[in-house]
Symmetry: C2
Subunit: 337 residues, 2 copies
Amino acid sequence: MGGDNAPNSVVDGAAISLKQYPDINFIFVGDKNKIEALIARHKKLAKISKIIHTEEFVTADDKPSIALRKKRQSSMSLAIKAVADGDADCVVSAGNTGALMLMALFGLKTLPNVSRPAIAAYYPTMKKNQYTVLLDMGANLQCSAKNLAEFAFLGTTFAQVVLGVKKPSVCLLNIGSEEMKGKDEIKEAATLLSNSKLAGEFKGFAEGDNIMDGNVDVVVTDGFTGNVTLKASEGTAKMISSMLKESFKSSPLSWLGYLFMLPALYSLKRRIDPRLYNGGVFMGLKGLCVKSHGGTDALGFSNAINVGVKMSIGDFNKHLAETLEKANLDSINNDKG
Amino acid sequence: MGGDNAPNSVVDGAAISLKQYPDINFIFVGDKNKIEALIARHKKLAKISKIIHTEEFVTADDKPSIALRKKRQSSMSLAIKAVADGDADCVVSAGNTGALMLMALFGLKTLPNVSRPAIAAYYPTMKKNQYTVLLDMGANLQCSAKNLAEFAFLGTTFAQVVLGVKKPSVCLLNIGSEEMKGKDEIKEAATLLSNSKLAGEFKGFAEGDNIMDGNVDVVVTDGFTGNVTLKASEGTAKMISSMLKESFKSSPLSWLGYLFMLPALYSLKRRIDPRLYNGGVFMGLKGLCVKSHGGTDALGFSNAINVGVKMSIGDFNKHLAETLEKANLDSINNDKG
């Protein structure tokens, strides 16, 4: 169990999720003594939990390739093994992202018809109860047209299973909405999608601000752009929130106004609370894998667990495999090529 | 004169700038009758303005390459010619970005030692009176290590001349701050910069949220990422502002609080007002060229003019040429290669 607040946030997060999904079981992988002491505080959780003991851990500084080769008895490696062996449906970790991706890739293997697994997550938008799925969030720094087109299928399946959107709309992130603009691989991916089973759902190009306007369910980009874009959005939200706080303190009157507005501000804060959107799903593997933010708390970790639970209940991988088989992107590629 | 609110916003913007910089002169390029009527409303402006008449315009839908070849008598083309001929120091346009870039590139030509001109702009950060220059904003969708390293020199010169920062710090935008992470060209650009005249100012990699944290003066990235990142930030700011408005209306008490806070909120709004940061500079050409946002008003257009004025007063191109000659990036490249 990794992450800045582990193992407390992990165990407490599991207890929160168990209240929402009373039928789930947990296998905690890590130091038995520490975990037992933490679980003991949650009666119901203690009843349905197993522990796999290990004292080896992947650290935040471990190079992924070294972790893969040398840390075979680490909690991360053993947790992935539990999924590979069918003992668990999903691994949820707040540890080293690169190591988790590499270990999951080798431990779980990719699904048929998936050329590149990708990380997806969903975010709040300007419209209430409307979220946008963004992928890839960092698994693939550079992507081909086929990769991007495939991500559209991964993302829409995610929106269906996790967010319950029946026919999710999907766009490719670009620097303009005109057809002639943008990188070649994005323009080619657009052609692929327009000729694919997703032709009806594919709505063309989206620009950076369309991620938050609530008009599209899934936005597809390469992992470099996805990662930078998400962090820039988080940074902007943080900047405005810090400026707002300064404003509140700028005069006694505005401080009074702030007090009057506290309940409304609290509800706004809840709406964009990053903990509620915690959980990047590593999709396209023969097993479910969710990456929690390293710095999150119990509530945030619980949300990462919940994403995994929804995917498991919704039989995500079965749907994805069927979707990709029907998609048959290679045949389109060949027709064009 | 292009842009959604032209020619009014252009002429009124010039009048605002003239108050701040009484020594500047304007050449307006466009429909003489329309412009004369607008200028007549501003006495001082009327005195120092010339008009180059034309009835041909580049539209927002014109393909840049077609505009370049066919619209030689357009206001955009003639305005660039005025700079090329030495009649003006800087062209400021709110028209078609792609056409402006292509026409300026052909009309003004690149400076020696510049392999790729780039678009820069600066933005507010969490720290008061601390801005971050971001480039490239869309001129070059894909960049080599050398391009990125060169942009660092362009960006720091911009921060010196326009923002008055003596020794601007500079970072490369990446998906992690660790040395091993990221795309090859970014890692190579880091090596180049570490061995360049900017070694002291180069602070390594920045992530998306570092653009707004006020800890670095210049952030360098390719034009695709820069454009998407900026739009995602704008989208996030818009989303939060819309959510805030909803919060204010959620109860009579919060509405009262909102009224108490109005002056403070107004000052916050001013601090992140996009009009105050309007003006993307197309750097690296033998003449100054500023692109204003198409949808801006007079205040916004005036800010774009002011950026050009500051560059002209500060002898930007002379500084840039000297900096790049001293930088001698090719010699570093050869040493390594």
